[in-house]
Symmetry: C2
Subunit: 306 residues, 2 copies
């Protein structure tokens, strides 16, 4: 099987496995399937669960798209790829739990390549893997965050090319909401190019992404299991919706995947399935000093969690 | 009084008058006042009402800011202004009613200038007025939209430099949400430069903006009065929140004022007071054919309403 097909298969198998696991955990709602085609070539399958017992909204998407010419923003980073046809595939997921004590979760793994020129003397096509996983708890529990980050550190430690500290710092930077001077949540890992273009070992990077997808459930499910039954009231719900407002701000103003998708006429429903089911805004809200909400806010700054 | 001070006074008087009128109409909640300073010079006053009987959230802001150098995005449009100190002032308002049958309303009037060079032989400083008003009804009533647009047409007809059809078309274009292929609402008027820079009569443009501010209440209040008591249920509320999701998408992805404000480290609470108190998203939702919601959708395309 060629590289493209191997990555596509990895993403699709990951999607199927995750859909099954989250559906089982929810125990009430089912993931609907929504397949779309991209006018320029390729398409994807969005799997979306709404109104569940545990998850208020969950989306697990795969896509594989082909194009005649590398989009300008990417060609700028990799001048050799300018004007080349390209292939991109990805698996992305966002889970918005109902209970405010359960963190929201996001992960994304993606692969990009341009074909190899006909003769090896003309150089090689470019390829890279990107991705990451991060946690957004309205009420952060230290032990949950430590568990999550330790799982990601263990993942990185299994692969020589992945430096947890570097990937964690990239995540802290990426999910920083500049106009709020705070992070969307408590971070995780993030990488644009796992191995810099031209320097990586394809098989090694493939194995990392495979391992990353496999780390999703053990890093997140135990937290969901532990918190999903915690009683909560109006106050906790309002804070959750308020924090989801920040999630919306981040995704619509800064998230490169979202903006790139919308600019390139991607499927807007599949792209925006990352948005929460409900969100709210309140003018100049400041949690009372010493409250659980104020403690939460303090967690949305870069910190060493392992 | 110099031009700057006259515009500042106009904006502040408009704010005071509108705050009083909307507070009286609401009859329950009061506008709080929140004054902020801009590190680079100037500041503003946000007046925000939340949790009212008629308005779930309403914000009426004024700002007047000074800077050492025209921001690059503006200097690009007006090369003569590059590197010049600048002054900008504005009045902007957003009203998010509680009842889904009452449309949301937005209007904005703004003024920008760079100082005249010391000698007239070096040319003149640049100045322009911008602004507009638009209506966003979750459930559009034809007679309301016609009233609104006719008031704006009458406003334009009173001023030789304002062509309603041109300003209405600019509004249809500006509030078009490309990734949804629909408008945020039913339009109104919009202008970036009422008279093109260097071609306008300052006094004439000032009078238009004054008249525009004065048109706010007669164009919008009768609609609020007529619809605020209409009974509604869960279905109408959910549709209202869903449409507010579009409002959020527009403001965070496309609205130039919002993005400019956030990029230039403006007061994020004052900038984002335009966001609705609650909003929601639902995957791939399509209103049933023939339903009130489907009829509403059809109104979010450019149309001649007068």
């Amino acid at each position: 099987m060629n590289r493209r097909d191997r990555v596509i298969e990895l993403m699709k198998a990951g999607q199927a496995k995750l859909v099954a696991a989250f559906e089982a955990l929810d125990g009430q709602a089912k993931f609907k399937s929504h397949t779309w085609e991209r006018p320029g070539g390729g398409g994807g399958t969005a799997r979306v669960l709404e109104g569940g017992r545990v998850f208020e909204r969950a989306g697990i998407n795969t896509s594989a798209v082909y194009g005649d010419a590398v989009p300008p923003s990417l060609a700028k980073q990799h001048p050799g790829s300018k004007g080349q046809p390209f292939f991109a595939t990805g698996l992305s997921m966002v889970l918005h739990p109902r209970n405010p004590y359960v963190p929201a979760f996001h992960a994304n793994y993606r692969y990009f390549e341009t074909p190899s020129p006909p003769s090896p003397s003309q150089g090689e096509g470019v390829w890279w893997f990107g991705g990451g996983a991060d946690l957004t708890p309205p009420y952060p529990f230290e032990e949950d965050i430590i568990h999550f980050h330790r799982m990601l550190k263990a993942l990185c430690d299994r692969h020589p090319q992945a430096d947890y500290w570097q990937l964690k710092e990239a995540c802290d930077r990426y999910f920083f909401i500049r106009h709020r001077q705070e992070m969307r949540g408590v971070g995780g890992i993030f990488f644009d190019e796992l191995s810099p273009v031209g320097q990586g070992d394809w098989e090694q990077d493939f194995r990392f992404v495979q391992d990353g997808i496999d780390t999703t459930l053990p890093s997140y499910l135990p937290i969901v299991e532990k918190r999903k039954g915690t009683p909560y009231g109006e106050r906790q719900r309002e804070w959750q919706l308020y924090r989801r407002g920040r999630y919306v701000e981040f995704n619509l103003i800064y998230d490169r995947g979202t903006l790139f998708g919308l600019q390139t006429q991607g499927n807007s429903e599949a792209i925006l399935m990352s948005l929460p089911p409900y969100a709210r805004w309140e003018f100049d809200y400041r949690p009372e000093a010493g409250s659980a909400e104020a403690t939460a806010l303090a967690c949305y700054q870069p910190r060493d969690w392992v």
